[in-house]
């Protein structure tokens, strides 16, 4: 157990350079190592989760330096859950990228993929605010490379925008950290929690400024409404399997909000009280509305899926912004669901785009149209939150948790009408893509080529479908085992709202 805690960071950090330096010209070996590393990561994450499930907080001190001075990695229920989610998402995505040949369309896909995993895993594990910044940068650098993978004018233009915007976010992150450090003299999260609680109430102007800047940074990552505009064009122009992996990256922002604003700037801390409640919830409601309208208005499948991510982030942030234990439990369940559902939708979008282009227009039936339309249907009802899949349960939990708060009527109205608009948007796209084409008169079509139906698929395409179905199986499993899943989420929320154990474990050895 001791050194297992750092393995999720070290393993991809070793595999990625190995892939670049040794296996540069051996695509098959690259694929084998990438998949093996991802499988191994999943195993490590599951082991960690099994250990953390009983509520123990595990601390790993790098270089054996005790907590407020040294760097620590911390695994509690929330971190372990996010690690498992990341690895469970990464495996189908890398299989899809191999099966669909995306990894051959540019160089170094697998190395960048591993670096991306390293950054995400590190961000979930770190117990130090500055290291959170460092791991954010690691995952962002990798994501810049993945985002412009295989090139193209539009992808480059979207990439520049994405990079510049995230660099601005990083600068703001450093300003926030500097402000916090100048007030408290520490950046270790547990130590920050102690120091912030001890701060005299009249001396908190600078601290509040720092906390607001930090929240802005995480809101950029989580695509909260006024700061969401980078997401649709970036995700829609990224390669679709990469966008499927990016589905976890918005959740890194949500995770950081949950972590910092329960542990450090918790609801009961006088210094920053009332900081988040006043505008996080309205912004989240607007995010959901904007995402739903975006789904309805998208002309391209990639944008549709990207706005699907925005809607799910809206719902998630509504639940998070309440900062109550039941709402957080609901948010955690919905977080797992929405990550898998968004990734599934991106992969299905890629299946369609590969066969008939990015536009949502009536077209001739494509090869394997039945399978793909079934998958699209499943992804659509999952993302919109219809029964029988877990999105319905997640939304039900969120709605249930808002009961009794002052804004419950607003939240119910926005979530329910947002779901309705999302369903309409998905139904419009699905019927245009999969049904309308059957009625097209044949003479209008380009007959210079063979009709697409009679062409055999260019590759034996079983692996992409296996990846899609395994994501779908994850959603079904989340629905069937909703009982254990919600119990784990409730235990996680309980642990988040009682941070004393976390703080004691991290700082404990120093106090002895």
């Amino acid at each position: 157990m001791n050194h297992l805690l750092i393995a999720p960071v070290v393993l991809p950090a070793l595999v990625a350079p190995f892939i670049i330096m040794v296996l540069r010209h051996h695509l098959d070996l690259q694929r084998i190592f990438s998949v093996a590393s991802t499988v191994l990561l999943a195993g490590i994450a599951l082991t960690l989760a099994a250990h953390a499930a009983d509520g123990t907080v595990y601390v790993y001190e790098l270089g054996n330096w005790p907590a407020p001075f040294g760097i620590v990695l911390v695994a509690d229920r929330l971190s372990a859950m996010m690690l498992v989610l990341t690895s469970v998402l990464a495996l189908p995505v890398v299989l899809y990228a191999i099966g669909s040949g995306w990894d051959t369309r540019g160089s170094n896909f697998h190395a960048l993929f591993q670096f991306q995993l390293m950054g995400i895993m590190g961000a979930f594990l770190t117990g130090d605010a500055f290291n959170l910044f460092v791991f954010f940068e690691v995952l962002l650098i990798a994501s810049y490379g993945l985002m412009i993978h295989s090139g193209g004018t539009r992808r480059f233009q979207a990439g520049v925008q994405y990079v510049v915007f995230n660099l601005l976010g990083s600068t703001l992150f450093l300003f926030a950290l500097g402000t916090l450090y100048s007030v408290t003299g520490t950046l270790n999260m547990a130590d920050l929690a102690v120091k912030v609680a001890q701060l005299p109430a009249e001396d908190t102007a600078l601290l509040r400024a720092g906390a607001v800047m930090l929240l802005l940074v995480f809101a950029i990552k989580a695509a909260l409404l006024p700061l969401h505009f980078w997401l649709p064009s970036a995700y829609a122009n990224a390669p679709m399997p990469v966008a499927a992996l990016f589905a976890i990256m918005t959740k890194v922002g949500a995770y950081a909000i949950l972590r910092m604003y329960t542990l450090v700037f918790g609801p009961e801390v006088a210094a920053t009280a009332g900081l988040t409640e006043s505008w996080l919830l309205p912004a989240a409601l607007l995010t959901l509305a904007a995402g739903a309208i975006g789904v309805l208005g998208s002309k391209k499948l990639g944008r549709l899926a990207a706005f699907g991510v925005v809607t799910s982030m809206g719902t998630l942030l509504i639940a998070i912004s309440l900062f109550t234990q039941t709402a957080t439990a609901a948010a955690l369940y919905y977080l797992v669901h929405s990550t898998l559902a968004a990734a599934l939708l991106f992969l299905v979008a890629d299946l369609v785009i590969e066969r008939q282009g990015p536009w949502i227009l009536p077209q001739l039936p494509m090869p394997q149209t039945g399978l793909i339309s079934a998958l699209f249907f499943a992804a659509a009802i999952a993302l919109a939150g219809m029964p029988p899949l877990s999105g319905f349960l997640g939304k039900l939990l969120v709605l249930d948790a808002t009961r009794g708060t002052g804004l419950a009527a607003w939240i119910w109205a926005v979530i329910l009408s947002g779901s309705l608009i999302t369903i309409i948007g998905m139904a419009r796209a699905g019927s245009l893509l999969f049904w309308k084409g059957h009625g097209l008169p044949l003479e209008n079509l380009d007959t210079s080529e063979e009709p697409p139906l009679e062409q055999p698929p260019a590759r034996p395409a079983s692996l992409p479908f296996a990846a899609c179905f395994s994501l779908l199986a994850g959603l079904v499993g989340l629905t069937v085992f909703a009982g254990p899943a919600t119990r784990y989420a409730e235990a996680t929320a309980a642990q988040l709202f009682a941070p004393a154990a976390y703080i004691e474990t991290v700082l404990g050895k120093e106090a002895e």
Partner: protein, 117 residues
């Protein structure tokens, strides 16, 4: 000294934001660099300003020493921002060479089919 450092950070930030709002790749990259200079100076100042004080505790004399942690943070931030600048230069160059246009705004979505993905 405080006034000088504070106004330097302020001016660098203002100039950086102005350049980023120009929305052409070269000014944007320069603006980002100015912003990272500003943030580095700011981080450096978070450990309080002191002159001629060593950043490590000296056990042989009763000297004041400055906070060493901001210096470590600045070092990390400099390395990261340097790498990031290289990345953004490469991507902006790629975008310029493939589209012959250095605007960082996305062109409006063209109507109808027939465009590459």
């Amino acid at each position: 000294m405080e006034l000088l450092v504070a106004s330097a950070v302020g001016i660098l930030t203002a100039a950086g934001i102005y350049l980023i709002l120009r929305r052409r790749s070269f000014p944007v990259i320069l603006g980002l660099s100015l912003l990272t200079y500003a943030v580095n100076v700011f981080l450096f100042a978070t450990g309080r300003l002191a002159t001629a004080a060593p950043p490590i505790l000296n056990k042989y004399e009763e000297a004041v020493y400055t906070d060493p942690l901001p210096q470590a943070l600045v070092l990390t931030a400099i390395v990261i921002s340097f790498g990031m600048t290289a990345v953004v230069v490469m991507i902006a160059l790629g975008a310029y060479l493939s589209s012959r246009d250095d605007r960082t705004a996305m062109p409006a979505e063209a109507e109808g089919a027939g465009e590459d993905a």
